[in-house]
């Protein structure tokens, strides 16, 4: 399979990408650049993590690192939608954009580092509301793992120390993010946004980055 792994710079997504690469699949990495709502260190971390992941598979299957400009879309979500749905709509936008990229460039599925219940956005209801935006299958190799298991793998493959290097959290996260978002609510919220234009704007801005 040809996969697109969504990578954030945290602990989980590099482990998820590694597990799918270790199964022998071809995988490229897609990072959503959230500046100015995060700092420059985030992208530097992602490049370093990509290099560590690439080192484990060798040159023949070295992943490409793609970076998607997500900050401008975040502004439109924050201005145009119910505040508490911000994180769910942000992640739905990631799936919209990744799906469009997958359809354009021939990826069979997306890979994420989600595991149930770790953070506010990872409740079952939110995951359902978010993945409804995906038009290709979403693979979650860590879904049943607990944090200790994920950290064990991250340490083993050498990504843990890099993942915990401090970088700024997303500053546009609402004070009380929705934890039980309904598909009907997020679809209604997206009606207030120019989704076609936003997805195209972000898709057209995706660039490959050297690492």
């Amino acid at each position: 399979m040809r996969l697109l792994g969504l990578i954030s710079g945290g602990i989980d997504s590099p482990v998820a990408a590694h597990l799918m690469l270790a199964k022998g699949h071809q995988l490229d990495l897609l990072h959503y650049d959230n500046r100015p709502f995060t700092d420059d260190k985030q992208l530097e971390k992602v490049k370093a993590l990509a290099a560590l992941i690439a080192h484990l598979v060798g040159n023949a299957r070295r992943p490409h690192l793609l970076v998607s400009p997500h900050g401008k879309v975040q502004v439109q979500i924050a201005r145009g939608a119910q505040r508490r749905l911000g994180c769910v709509l942000c992640r739905r936008m990631m799936f919209h954009v990744a799906s469009a990229l997958a359809e354009r460039d021939g990826y069979d599925a997306l890979v994420t580092g989600e595991s149930l219940g770790q953070v506010a956005s990872q409740t079952l209801m939110n995951i359902r509301a978010e993945e409804a935006a995906a038009k290709v299958p979403v693979l979650r190799p860590l879904i049943g793992f607990d944090k200790v298991e994920i950290i064990d793998i991250a340490r083993r493959i050498g990504t843990f120390d890099r993942s915990i290097v401090p970088s700024l959290c997303c500053t546009i996260v609402p004070e009380r993010p929705a934890t039980r978002a309904k598909v009907s609510d997020v679809l209604k919220a997206e009606e207030g946004l120019d989704m076609v234009t936003l997805v195209k704007m972000e898709l057209d801005g995706i660039k490959e980055v050297e690492f």
Binding site: P36, F37, D39, Q74, V75, A78, P166, L168, C169
Partner: protein, 98 residues
């Protein structure tokens, strides 16, 4: 108005809060007028991104910062002295001087 500065939990930035000089408490009910602030900061040479529920501001003499409606700041630096100087300049521009 005194400023409380503390490192954010990731240790990659600093949070600043304008607190009451008598009680030492942060007025979480305060709601800044972002439209007016965006205009006035613009005239003081700040580059301002109005993202709706928050403003992102830049200027050559400060670290890039996020302003929340309550006056809370998130400052992108891991240097405490720079964070303090940034908070003082922004609060001065907002009329929330120490």
């Amino acid at each position: 108005m005194p400023i409380m500065i503390r490192q954010c939990k990731t240790k990659a930035g600093y949070e600043a809060l304008p607190v009451d000089k008598d009680t030492g408490k942060w007025d979480q009910e305060r709601r800044l007028d972002f439209k007016a602030i965006a205009r006035s900061l613009g005239t003081e040479g700040y580059e301002v991104l109005d993202a709706g529920p928050l403003l992102v501001v830049k200027r050559s003499d400060i670290s890039e910062s996020t302003i929340y409606p309550t006056g809370r700041l998130m400052i992108k630096t891991d240097d405490e002295a720079k964070a303090k100087a940034t908070a003082e300049r922004i609060y001065k521009s907002l009329g929330l001087e120490p």
